[in-house]
Symmetry: C2
Subunit: 239 residues, 2 copies
């Protein structure tokens, strides 16, 4: 937690907020704050700045906050991910949030096992909590929007074409003949398949919707590694 | 496991190898091979190719192997990492191996907790096993060399200058004024600190040894995310 993210419900006055729970535990056990200390804070959806600990108990910390700096720029990226395996999902949410992804779509694919959609990590509350952890890691305040589409074909036929319109659109696919471009730094839609990749049928449908197949070289990377590699490659000027 | 890595001890003839243990379990339970199937294989330190399953039991699989393709090019990178927290260490080893890092140094730093060095994951066998998982993920055969230096100062004063000689050398440091360069694609030494970063003293010592401080923008990334981001940024032509 390199920044404590404050939500509307934490504020008791425009410049006063009360922290409890996980964030308070972090202040106590990791940062080891005492009254009078200053900690980095940000308001969800708003500015970042500092909070002075004006009151500290075992159950809450009251902060006098000054919010005067903008959060880092969002990535101009719409990331379309085949729903990852649950044990990797939380970490991928955190990584996406930390990298500045603001528009994330979780979609179905042939190689997404049905059970993946049953994970409790997919609840609104858990998704929000893991995105918060990513924002707090990288010092950002802008909560990503996550959208879930459990049917591949309606998403690709009915929604993807309008997402792609006016943007660069790519599907990362080890079998593609074109290498992934570098430093695009422009609005981009990027689709990444599941472990084992999209099927040829799926790649065809994504291409029909306007996405260009690109490869990342001979190495096959896990999704959690491919996301930072691709983001860094496409948006070197934005990180 | 996108490739089964074969070691010298697995070979019973120049073109015959026997798999057991984890790799056999993967063939049975994930790939669900039957006798006659072909699976991707590579020989540790050598060529890659295919293995035809000529005999399959519950305890071993005998493969007729043809090795005729080179592994992907190694990254021209010497990666110097402050020893990560144990729960992240295994994953970082796998990620480094998957990305093509071949020269990894694990060093001490003020913010590396002493207990990190006690982890059983640091045994030769566990390090090798996790590097193998990374190579098998990305389809590579060249085992990285991992070197452990539990004292910061002797490493930085006595060893680092000769590693740096004739190479680009960087230390990733959020406080640096220079942004990390892109597409260097040349022999490079890259130092990455622990959670919380190198101390100012340590950055000074790394700079004295020839490393230039560079930042990655306003976001503070976990080491497991920073490594792929930096590798992708520095070596876009090599991935």
């Amino acid at each position: 937690m390199n920044l404590a993210l404050l939500f509307d419900e934490d504020f008791i006055a425009p410049d006063r907020a009360i922290l409890s729970g996980r964030r308070l535990a972090h202040l106590h056990s990791v940062i080891k704050v005492v009254a009078g200390d200053t900690v980095p804070v940000g308001r969800e959806g708003g500015q970042m700045g500092t909070g002075v600990v004006v009151r500290l108990t075992d159950t809450e910390a009251e902060l006098q906050v000054t919010l005067d700096q903008p959060p880092p720029a969002p990535l101009p990226l719409t990331l379309v991910l085949a729903m990852p395996r649950p044990k990797m999902f939380r970490r991928i949410l955190q990584t996406c949030a930390a990298l500045g992804v603001k528009d994330l779509w979780l979609i179905n694919s042939y190689k997404v096992e049905k059970s993946f959609w049953q994970t409790p990590w997919l609840s609104d509350q858990q998704v929000r909590e893991n995105l918060t952890l990513g924002l707090e890691q990288s010092k950002d305040t802008l909560m990503p929007r996550v959208q879930i589409r459990k049917l591949f074909k309606p998403f690709v036929e009915d929604e993807l074409p309008s997402l792609v319109a006016g943007r660069k659109a790519l599907v990362a696919h080890p079998g593609a003949s074109t290498p992934c471009p570098t430093h695009l730094n422009q609005p981009t839609v990027l689709c990444i398949g599941p472990e084992g990749g999209f099927t040829d049928y799926e790649v065809g449908k994504l291409e029909d919707a306007g996405c260009q197949g690109v490869h990342l070289g001979p190495r096959i990377l896990r999704v959690e590694t491919a996301v930072p590699v691709l983001v860094s490659r496409l948006f070197d000027a934005c990180l």
